[in-house]
């Protein structure tokens, strides 16, 4: 795949994908572009709405049907479920780490093998445990042979 950045001085950024056919790679690129452009609508404790760049999200959790979104600076709430967050921004690195947690793989500081589980150190200082059910999926996502 050839990538060309053409600086023309125009006001709006334009992305043109030239391809022979719309294959899986092109579809993946499109999904990535769309998900990267989509903002996550959240609100803070004063119920002020914020449009968050999904890349800023460190992790999300559900507590009693409420979905909380953690960045390294703040805590927000969103109306989306964990499943929706994962499916919308999975290409950007959102990964289901447990029944009640989704983590942004790009924000993880380090991982630690704990037998069947994996502990993720986050920039918020928290340590998130990837459960036995989801740990093989994480290994697979990171390309570890013979996972799942």
């Amino acid at each position: 795949m050839k990538i060309t950045v053409d600086q023309t001085g125009g006001e709006e950024v334009e992305v043109i994908l030239r391809c022979r056919e719309v294959d899986e790679e092109v579809l993946r690129l499109l999904a990535l572009l769309r998900s990267g452009l989509q903002r996550l609508c959240v609100w803070d404790e004063r119920r002020q709405t914020v449009l968050l760049n999904p890349a800023e999200v460190v992790w999300c959790e559900t507590v009693e049907d409420h979905t909380f979104v953690y960045t390294d600076q703040a805590l927000y709430q969103t109306g989306l479920s964990l499943g929706e967050l994962e499916s919308r921004w999975g290409d950007l690195g959102f990964f289901r780490a447990g029944k009640s947690a989704v983590v942004n793989l790009h924000q993880i500081r380090s991982l630690k093998s704990c037998g069947g589980r994996i502990e993720a150190a986050l920039p918020t200082g928290e340590r998130l445990m990837v459960s036995r059910h989801y740990a093989p999926l994480l290994r697979q996502r990171l390309g570890q042979e013979g996972s799942v």
Partner: protein
């Protein structure tokens, strides 16, 4: 309340290892008894084994407060192994856990204890740490993609 929660969390981690050690000990006792034609294990002996394991698991959490799966200083690992030998071999000798067993049988049990301690050390310090290093290398690759 915080103190209680800290104590409770400590208990959760400790009792898991205490359980493994106790089951291992009782299993060995059961096999030895069966080989000697006795098909039961004394409740008092089981209680003593549980207390021995409680002491060992408690000492373990004191030696490795960050958990066994953290990189460990060699001195503490050596102390941990020595304590394991002292508690289990000492307990067996002092309380007669394996009374009537021939010398070679005792040596086999000590060998099993050493193999168990080594397997635990290997699993935690070698296999898990290698896996952790591999996971982190792959995570960096993923993040740079």
């Amino acid at each position: 309340m915080n103190g209680f929660l800290r104590w409770y969390r400590w208990g959760l981690g400790m009792k898991y290892h205490m359980g493994i050690y106790t089951v291992g000990l009782i299993f060995c006792k059961g096999v030895v008894n069966a080989l000697m034609g006795e098909y039961e294990v004394d409740s008092l002996t089981m209680l003593e084994m549980l207390i021995g394991s409680l002491l060992f698991a408690s000492a373990e959490t004191a030696l490795f407060p960050g958990g066994l799966d953290q990189p460990q200083p060699r001195g503490r690992t050596a102390l941990w192994a020595a304590l394991g030998n002292l508690l289990y071999v000492g307990g067996a000798l002092a309380l007669g856990w394996f009374r009537g067993i021939p010398l070679w049988g005792g040596l086999v049990l000590i060998l099993i204890l050493e193999a168990g301690l080594f397997a635990m050390w290997f699993g935690i310090n070698v296999a898990m740490q290698a896996d952790t290093a591999d996971l982190n290398r792959r995570l960096r690759d993923y993040q740079q993609e």
